[in-house]
């Protein structure tokens, strides 16, 4: 906010403001490029957060402190968190495949991007944007008051329509995200009966029990020293497979770690027998 105050005080070109501008311009362009190039969607989301935060500071530099805070609260706080929630639902590990389905699509997109850049650059270059006018009444400390005056006088009708838009969006999201229950919800009694009728009425063994480590990706050892595959969560087992060198033969959950641990069950062999059924 110091930059905003600087600009409010000595409006045109203070060195602090221009340093902030060039720094943030480089950061935001780099983060934007990284967002387009990063393969994992989570990296894209984090880089987008960087762009949005630097844009927020740029708004403050350009004399819009209210918009800077709205940018941080609405965009970085709400919109980006929503993005991350949906990413976690859709699956973080899903990489974007880099195979081109349409031949030459990336090249054409690059050419189109350069063309758009040249076109917009020419337009902006021809527009002869002069130096900023001396800051009016709505800049500096009176920014919020000036915006409020405008919103509740000249723009009061768009502001009211916004309410309808937000309600429509909330309803639309609820309808789209709603899933119809196709079978009745199982009661607690049914769940219990199902559990007893199934093969294993007891809870699953925890990972790492009697093994060398007690990490979550380490399968527990059975009394005979063999690793228990059900003790590792299937999500972690799948990730272990992904992390290990790709095209190798699929290993049991826990991978080579399990084989290493299987050699030393004799040391732990005495007491587990009475605890384990």
């Amino acid at each position: 906010m110091t930059a905003g105050h600087l600009l409010a005080a000595g409006q045109t070109t203070s060195t602090g403001a221009s340093v902030a501008f060039w720094l943030l311009a480089v950061i935001s362009v780099a983060a934007g490029l990284g967002m387009v190039l990063a393969r994992r969607a989570v990296y894209c989301a984090v880089l987008l957060a960087v762009v949005m935060l630097s844009l927020a500071i740029l708004y403050a530099v350009a004399g819009a402190p209210f918009l800077a805070f709205v940018q941080i609260i609405v965009y970085t706080g709400a919109v980006l968190m929503l993005f991350l929630f949906v990413l976690m639902i859709v699956g973080v590990s899903a990489r974007d495949s880099m195979r081109e389905t349409i031949p030459g699509q990336r090249l054409a997109a690059g050419v189109a991007g350069i063309g758009l850049l040249v076109l917009l650059g020419l337009i902006v270059g021809h527009a002869a944007i002069g130096p900023a006018a001396p800051a009016g009444t709505g800049y500096g400390v009176n920014n919020v008051r000036g915006l409020a005056t405008l919103i509740f006088t000249r723009y009061v009708f768009p502001f009211e329509v916004t309410a309808a838009l937000l309600i429509t969006a909330a309803l639309g999201a609820m309808v789209l995200a709603h899933r119809e229950r196709t079978r009745p919800k199982p009661t607690q009694r049914e769940l219990a009966e199902q559990r007893v009728a199934g093969g294993r009425p007891s809870p699953l063994p925890g990972p790492g029990v009697y093994a060398r480590h007690n990490a979550v990706d380490f399968p527990a050892l059975l009394p005979d020293g063999s690793p228990s595959e059900v003790s590792v969560s299937p999500i972690i087992a799948a990730r272990e497979h992904e992390m290990q060198a790709g095209p190798a033969a699929p290993l049991p959950p826990g991978g080579d770690a399990a084989n290493g641990a299987a050699s030393e069950p004799d040391s732990a062999g005495s007491e587990p027998e009475e605890v384990r059924p």
Partner: protein, 99 residues
């Protein structure tokens, strides 16, 4: 550092977002690139408001933010519905929109 610098930065960010929309195939990442384009336009609005030293541009940028928030909510719900139907967030897999 005149408003033209801000507009130039907005142009660059807009182009980056547009190229991202064209290149990427994950629906979520495409959506993020659309957000980047919206942000770039907001920056241009703020810069032009500063150029003319009145606040109307800032009010428009504020409304753009409101519309973007509503758009994100509906768009993400559509992506989730798509993911439920197709088990994938890739735009290549979406050839029928139903849930």
């Amino acid at each position: 550092m005149s408003p033209s610098h801000f507009v130039a930065l907005a142009v660059i960010l807009f182009v980056i977002g547009a190229v991202g929309v064209l290149v990427r195939r994950n629906a979520l990442v495409i959506f993020m690139c659309v957000e980047l384009m919206l942000n770039a336009v907001n920056l241009a609005f703020v810069a032009f408001a500063r150029l003319h030293a009145n606040l109307d541009g800032q009010v428009i940028a504020f409304f753009v933010m409101v519309v973007a928030a509503a758009e994100v909510v509906v768009g993400l719900a559509i992506i989730m519905a798509m993911f439920r139907a197709r088990r994938s967030a890739s735009v290549d897999d979406a050839n029928l929109l139903k849930y």
